[in-house]
Symmetry: C2
Subunit: 311 residues, 2 copies
Amino acid sequence: MNTYISVDVGGTQIRVAVYPETGTQALRIKKVATVGEGTPLERLIATVHDQMSPDENVKAIGICVPGPVDAEKGVISFCANLEGWENLPMRDILQAEFNVPVVIGNDANLAALGEWKYGAGRGHKNVVYFTISTGVGGGVVADNRLLHGHKGLATELGHTFLEPDSHYPCGCGQFGHLESFSSGTGIAYYANEQLNLGRESILQGKGKVNARDVAEAAQAGDALALETYARASKFLAYGIVNTLHTFNPSAVIFGGGVSMVGDLLFAPIKEALPKLVYSQDYLDDLHFAMAELGDDVGLLGCLALAHMETE
Amino acid sequence: MNTYISVDVGGTQIRVAVYPETGTQALRIKKVATVGEGTPLERLIATVHDQMSPDENVKAIGICVPGPVDAEKGVISFCANLEGWENLPMRDILQAEFNVPVVIGNDANLAALGEWKYGAGRGHKNVVYFTISTGVGGGVVADNRLLHGHKGLATELGHTFLEPDSHYPCGCGQFGHLESFSSGTGIAYYANEQLNLGRESILQGKGKVNARDVAEAAQAGDALALETYARASKFLAYGIVNTLHTFNPSAVIFGGGVSMVGDLLFAPIKEALPKLVYSQDYLDDLHFAMAELGDDVGLLGCLALAHMETE
């Protein structure tokens, strides 16, 4: 039988899934730790070999990695958490190793592609995807095509300035990016800053808090925690409006751990959007939804990319 | 002989050009005032008829209008300066009238397309175009395709928040957009505000100044005028970086009257960019250029669109 292989590379684990020619139900999934005996690349290759079967004909392998990729050349530009993965010609290495077509993409971009093809963006031609977790990532499908840009560095939506004269830091070293305000790190930063300033809160005296602590305090009605999430919502609304005005999508989809808090983050955004758009036409039939693919979004994004490559 | 017809609709004039099947040298160009006897649409139709010749076979007509267009349906959403042009099915009207394929686009989008095909963006697959005049407009070619979005409302790059809590107004009614700071209107607004506050300047006592007055004062070394342009540059640099991180283009092109001031606006930007990008890869082989097509950019954008439609 014909199969597709998806490889989702993360900082802590590498997941390899084998899919049949049609459908999104994996035949088998194998997880290995990214760091261990041998290099991550050697571990990846060994795990893919291990998942191949002589009864199966692999039509293509799709890989997603946590860093920018030059999709045209199949070269990984860099991966913050994977030592030595800099200007790594991953596609050529793997094609030589496995002798099948290999396609590579960035994790947030492929999550967008996965949600567009199999998840919350099905049937939409223009989709903006935000992943809100430690940082803020993004991916965009415009007119049914994934945006890569010249060197695979497009749609770093978390790294756009929303208040450039701000002192709030971004994970990338700049200040006042969307990620500075609306990521888990940004939420924790503001709460800790305010706690250090002596603000009254049930979080006082608990040491350094994280975004989950703040969410729990907000759910308990704590004023500082509520203010912290309201601020994250406010800036996320600005960031969303900027992408509406930039891409005019018919669907905006949210994934990532921080997005799981739901209404605490999103109710104020839905209320704010009509007041912030240039024209109500941007909102008229806008589908505003949570990601549907959960932990498999990377694997399914690879699958979507592998299908596009071979169809 | 085969020809293409381009129609550039502005608030003050309608220009109709007839082009041969190959090349960008118009066979003839006719200008008429947009407002006069009959409606603008009637005047447009009459002028196109007037430019048609029985010896020529028109392969397609391309139209650009100063407002958002649903390219797929060929419907003009609205045009601020053209009364009654709201949800106007321009394509169907003109196809019925002339019995040839008609394609329609927004002026800033088609300027981007024109510069990509015939001007400063030739040979680049990913181009961001800014027009900086009374307002700030934008257009983007991504992977050799013009971005429209779901309803033709994409790439309103001037209407993205850069400092949402700002009191500086945008032409669209919002505050703190790129246009609020870096357009001709935004430059004049800040200078007039500072003059009203009693700031020392050679512009004091001259009444309400415009962006050109400020540019002249800056060239004469006036401190307030220099500060005003430095501020416009600073925010334009943030806006450019946001588009680099969003589209990762290999070319960024600037048109529009305010961009003509050259180094006064752009020298500080070139200096700022390396400090503001997420990775130097965004700048490595970035082509940073002035638009080349001048007043004909709209006509040539229509021509590019008409060619794409029929090829």
